[in-house]
Amino acid sequence: MKARFYALAGRLEGALRTGETLLLGLDAERSDFVRFNRGRVRQAGSVEQRTLELRLLRAGRQASATLELGESSGDVELAQDALAQLRDALEGLPDDPWLLINETPRSTDSARRGTLPAAEAVVEQVVRAAGGRDLVGIYAGGTIVRGFANSLGQRNWHEVDSFNFDWSLHGAAGRAVKGGNAGFAWNPAAFAETLEAAADELARSAAPERSIAPGEVRAYLAPRAMEELLGLLAWDGFSGHARATKQSPLLRMEHGASLAAAITLTETAADGIAPPFQADGFVKPPAVTLIERGGLGEALVSPRTAKEYGLETNGAEAGEAPECLELAAGTLPTDDVLAALDTGLYVSNLWYLNYSDRAAARITGMTRFATFWVEGGRIVAPVGAMRFDDSLYRMLGENLEALTRERELLLDPSTYEGRSTSSARLPGALLRALRFTL
């Protein structure tokens, strides 16, 4: 695919007219998707897609087009048709005052090769390991490609072979435990081991459910629960544009609010599986500190935001959301979490978070999957889905007691339009109190 993409770039560059600059982006994947329900296959299939973006610039103006590449012999004709449409579109446009691209070519080439068996073999192994248990979820595996080329001579390529098996195990009375196996080499033994651990946890969920009255409750949020919390915050929380237009949910940090000193959040492009370059041709720095010891750090600044507000870009994509978010580790050993929690809620997962008051960073959401009531450092009962509604400044501020020493690398299983390359490396968090409402 790389040779095909670069050949297309070369052909199109040869067709440019004086004063024109062309940027090309490729977003492609070859994926197998196998959906499971009740430990059997619900839907299985494969998808091959190759989305090409063309951006034509001339005299301070720009327009873009996306198209789906088909058979390789038709690439040039398709792209040249799009180029002609873009030339027409530029005719009626005013200057774009916020246009900024990288004009100093920095070519990169990165590949993460994996060991993925045929998906049919994964199916057999999963069904056999499930052994009639109620396993639900999706296996997504294959090769993800991102490419960039511009007529200034820059070439960037990023290719990852990966899989993400996102699943849950279900028992009686709606009890369920979340599991997951993701990485670059499928290992059936590792999956079977995770499945057995989940089965043990599900067995602990079989005890009669404890009902917890709304109010403030001491709580531990496991790394997957923290992923949901920080995932919501990623929605404009670190965006340079949102900060400049006073729409960031962290607005009140500009007016004196702060998080606990233990909170240091970093976008670490160097450690993720996302491409190290972005759509305007900028290469991302290895790390950007977003929250430093509880205070506002840098924002993620796209080239467009940088031009509009007189800032320096740090290679953020247009959405200015983190793709490789890391929360610094704390000091609480994960093995000591139950003892440190003593009495309270152990929350494995959160679900469907949103803002009750965005400007105040007040967040609501639900517990989901294995949630337990703990007394004297021992799990005593499962707890049904509960709604919390609390401020981030309380949760990760005044009420944050500890972060765990160990962190989990969580690869995003999202597959909207295509497989995600986002990831997060997060500890768990022990909170003195979390406010539950329903």
Partner: protein, 440 residues
């Protein structure tokens, strides 16, 4: 258009094919953008290999004879063609500029999205469907800020049709109106807290229907397919025909017959002809949102709602148009009936548990109602409840005069994930005894 600056226009075309094979109890698919004969054959071979590989361990015993083979054509309302690009630019510029009424207005945006969608459904048994749709979507948003407080107002209008939808949406003049309302919110007190009456306008009813009726009635959730991602449902198969979902005023339909509605179509993506179906009649739960395959699995009759977000995703049970039928109360009568309550419009926050029961929703705009009169704007209006009991507190349903047709672009569900558009039409509705609260 943003801050009086035209953003770079984008053109997008997307074309591909989903090949599905059903054989000997197995099922498989392969999607490809390579539409050459060789490319399609390769995809078909891959789909067939999947069908073969899964026939012994599939949840469902697939039978090729069950696949429909309809023939026909459908076109949604195409309406007026868009004007020249420069006229669209001028329209956006007018609204963006008109929103600049105060230094506290920190962002002004306006956009028009034009989409066309053409879908073919072909089978080796003679099925041949051709459907064509056009969507014209105006959007605007204005944000005001003062110190640590920020408030926004927005306009969205999601229907099928041509450029006439711009005028129908009230797009002209929206810039100044939204700016004025954002400033009002900036100065307004927080929504009061307490248990009180709630009057939801149609643009918030859209979200209320979607989350706490639509998703719980999806039959694939009830059958467990979504338990790992979008979730399950508090509704079970045994509840159809006997469960009281809401008060006797609640009448809910799956309605593809209103052509302008956002998700009207002639056939679903599994080849089943779409017809109006009553899901809840006089408060009683009647039928699920389940397509041909789910109906067979559950032994229930349902709807033509197997939908795929695009050529690269397989059809699954989705909402399409899910509406609340008009009642008999005027908006004035509903307001007059409220001793203490809040009117809310324009969703801004949504959260609900994985069984689609415990919910909390927030709106951009709220107005206090005291002793039958609107008495002032409130900011950060929120409310929470439980689906299984909330609809039983429905005590007045608006008549045709408050009935509006809305839609949403991004309903997420499925593994692999799919975002589809849905239509929701409803009148204003009044609920009693709801937990309402503000921000802070």
């Amino acid at each position: 258009m943003r801050q009086d600056t035209l953003l770079p226009p984008g053109l997008s075309s997307d074309c591909g094919a989903m090949l599905t094979a059903v054989a000997d109890g197995g099922y498989g698919y392969c999607a490809t953008s390579d539409l050459s004969r060789a490319g399609l054959q390769t995809a078909l071979d891959r789909a067939s290999a999947w069908a073969e590989a899964t026939r012994a361990n599939s949840v469902i015993a697939f039978n090729p004879e069950d696949m429909p083979a309809p023939c026909g054509e459908y076109a949604g309302p195409l309406g007026e063609a868009p004007p020249a690009r420069s006229a669209i630019h001028d329209l956006l510029a007018d609204e963006c500029r008109a929103a600049k009424i105060d230094d506290r207005i920190v962002e002004r945006s306006a956009a028009i999205h034009l989409f066309e969608d053409e879908r073919l459904y072909l089978t080796n048994t003679g099925g041949d469907l051709r459907q064509r749709f056009r969507y014209t979507l105006p959007w605007a948003r204005v944000t005001a800020n003062q110190g640590p407080e920020t408030q926004s107002r927005s306009l969205e209008h999601a229907q099928q049709g041509g450029f006439e939808r711009i005028a129908e949406a009230g797009f002209r003049g929206c810039g100044a109106r939204l700016a004025d309302e954002a400033l009002q919110l900036l100065l307004a007190p927080d929504c009061p807290s307490g248990t009180m009456d709630l009057l939801l306008m149609p643009d918030q009813m859209m979200l209320q229907i979607h989350e706490s009726i639509g998703h719980p009635l999806e039959l694939d959730r009830i059958l467990g397919d979504e338990r790992n991602y979008a979730g399950t449902s508090f509704v079970t198969a045994e509840m159809f025909g006997r469960y009281r979902y809401g008060s006797e005023l609640l009448n809910v339909t799956f309605d593809p017959s209103r052509a302008e509605a956002f998700a009207s179509y002639g056939w679903d993506d599994d080849g089943t002809k779409a017809e109006k179906v009553w899901l809840i009649r006089d408060g009683l739960l009647v039928a699920p949102l389940g397509a041909r395959l789910s109906q067979a699995r559950a032994g229930l009759s349902g709807t033509a709602n197997a939908r795929a977000s695009n050529w690269n995703r397989p059809p699954i049970d989705r909402m399409a148009n899910l509406n609340i039928e008009p009642g008999s109360s005027s908006l004035e009568a509903m307001i007059a009936s409220i001793a203490r309550g809040v009117l809310m419009r324009a969703n801004v926050s949504w959260s609900i548990d994985d069984a689609r029961n415990k919910f909390q929703f927030g709106c951009e705009w709220g107005e206090r109602i005291e002793n039958g009169r609107r008495v002032g704007v409130v900011k950060n209006p929120n409310y929470r409840g439980v689906s299984a009991t909330f609809w039983r507190s429905l005590r007045m349903v608006g008549d045709a005069s408050s009935f509006e047709v809305h839609g949403t672009l991004n309903c997420g569900k499925g593994e692999p994930n799919q975002a589809v558009h849905c239509g929701h039409a409803a009148p204003a509705c009044a609920f009693s005894g709801v937990e309402v609260f503000g921000g802070g």
